[in-house]
């Protein structure tokens, strides 16, 4: 079998392969920075150490916060409930993203966006809900 214009084709293929795999070579050896959500807002730091607890345990909040927020929304808007009783601590919380969650987690950029950006998820919470004011140092 004879390959017409073999040189050009092979060079072209090589160039293509080099470009297509460039992102992989470029990032070889570089560790992808893990998201590190920060919990160091003034409201949280003020609390005594043992009281620094979220509505539900950390592991639960990490995986289920979107479900929780969805349920909160239905409970407030549709069923007229105002308060959530924590299944972990039996403490009462106002069911409100804007007024309750963000009261402690006033660092949306470092708390919400850190992971959401990493995971490339774009929740539309902040299209309507007003995020707390943050100074732009990050």
């Amino acid at each position: 079998m004879k390959l017409y214009d073999g040189g050009k084709i092979l060079i072209g293929l090589l160039v293509f392969a080099a470009i297509a795999t460039f992102p992989f070579y470029y990032h070889i050896g570089k560790v992808n920075a893990k998201p590190e959500p920060k919990l160091d807002t003034p409201a949280i730091l003020q609390m005594p150490e043992q009281e620094r607890k979220c509505v539900e345990p950390k592991a639960f909040m990490r995986t289920e916060h979107m479900q929780l927020l969805n349920n909160w929304r239905d409970a407030v808007v549709r069923d007229g409930y105002g308060q959530y009783v924590s299944t972990a601590t039996a403490k009462h919380y106002n069911m409100s993203l804007q007024n309750e969650c963000m009261r402690c987690h006033s660092n949306k950029k470092k708390f919400c966006d850190e992971c959401h950006n990493y995971m490339a998820v774009k929740p539309y919470c902040w299209d309507c809900h007003i995020a707390p004011k943050e100074d732009d140092k990050s």
Partner: protein, 269 residues
């Protein structure tokens, strides 16, 4: 292995039953699948409760446009209602209307000039039989069973505007443009809306939930707006509606509006 049709259906049927059983079992493990129920949620103890929230507008207290403007601006600043500065994009929860527009069915050419010229305050009527709820394809707008408020769930609104076509009172406005830049002073405790949703008065559910009266009622001059439970025989609204002559907007349509207008009121009404 060869299998005839009958055998195949048997196996398929049994295995699908098993599958259903398995999902049901896993659902009971996770309470979050079905949403949260009491006792995980509780009403706020200070919540104002009623079976049927209703409002009486005492027209004797609204003499001038400024009187109305007080309530309008109280509402619109509380709820982050944008002001686009043009009537085409206008968003309104509560506003001023002429008699002929508010009560087109009760117009009469030789009517008392005073009433004809009166500025009427109009808002969502929180109907007993709301046409907007009937047409909403996503249940984004719905009538709350517990207190009769016709409420909006902005998360579910797809912006089809059926409700705007259905509402005979023009109480609904559509966000044709991104509202955020047009809100002068944001109320940080209340969300804004986004482009592509319909909004309207909610009888201040968020204020009732923390034991406050609606913003317009609080701001109205000399108690011109009376808010209460129409189902409660001893409430002020019920007493007024029972003892005085009140009119409702387009009641003949059968929507059952919950906003009553007391025209001939005096200082003691």
């Amino acid at each position: 292995m060869s299998m005839d049709r009958r055998q195949f259906l048997k196996i398929a049927g049994i295995s699908s039953l098993l599958g259903l059983g398995a999902t049901a079992a896993s659902a009971t493990h996770n309470i979050w699948v079905k949403g949260i129920n009491p006792p995980e949620v509780e009403p706020n103890p200070v919540t104002l409760k009623a079976e049927h929230w209703a409002m009486v507008v005492d027209m004797s207290k609204f003499k001038t446009e400024e009187d109305i403007q007080k309530s309008v601006s109280a509402c619109h600043t509380t709820h982050n209602v944008p002001d686009f500065g043009n009537i085409k994009d206008e968003i309104k929860w509560i506003w001023k209307a002429k008699y002929e527009n508010a009560f087109p069915d009760q117009e009469n050419p030789y009517m008392e000039e005073k009433i004809k010229e009166m500025p009427f305050i109009v808002l969502c009527n929180h109907c007993e039989n709301p046409p907007c709820v009937r047409v909403c394809p996503t249940k984004a707008t719905f009538k709350r069973k517990q207190d009769g408020i016709v409420m909006m769930d902005m998360h579910r609104c797809i912006g089809c505007r059926f409700c705007m076509a259905a509402c005979p009172y023009g109480a609904r406005s559509f966000n044709f443009r991104e509202p955020r830049p047009f809100i002068k002073n944001e109320n940080k405790e209340y969300p804004t809306r986004t482009r592509g949703v319909v909004e309207k008065c909610t009888f201040c559910t968020e204020r009732l939930a923390v034991g406050k009266l609606p913003a317009c009622v609080e701001a109205a001059p000399k108690g011109g707006l009376i808010f209460g439970d129409l189902a409660d025989k001893h409430s002020e609204v019920r007493k007024i509606v029972e003892t005085r002559y009140t009119i409702r907007r387009k009641a003949e349509l059968g929507t059952g509006p919950s906003v009553y207008y007391l025209i001939g009121g005096n200082e003691h009404a």
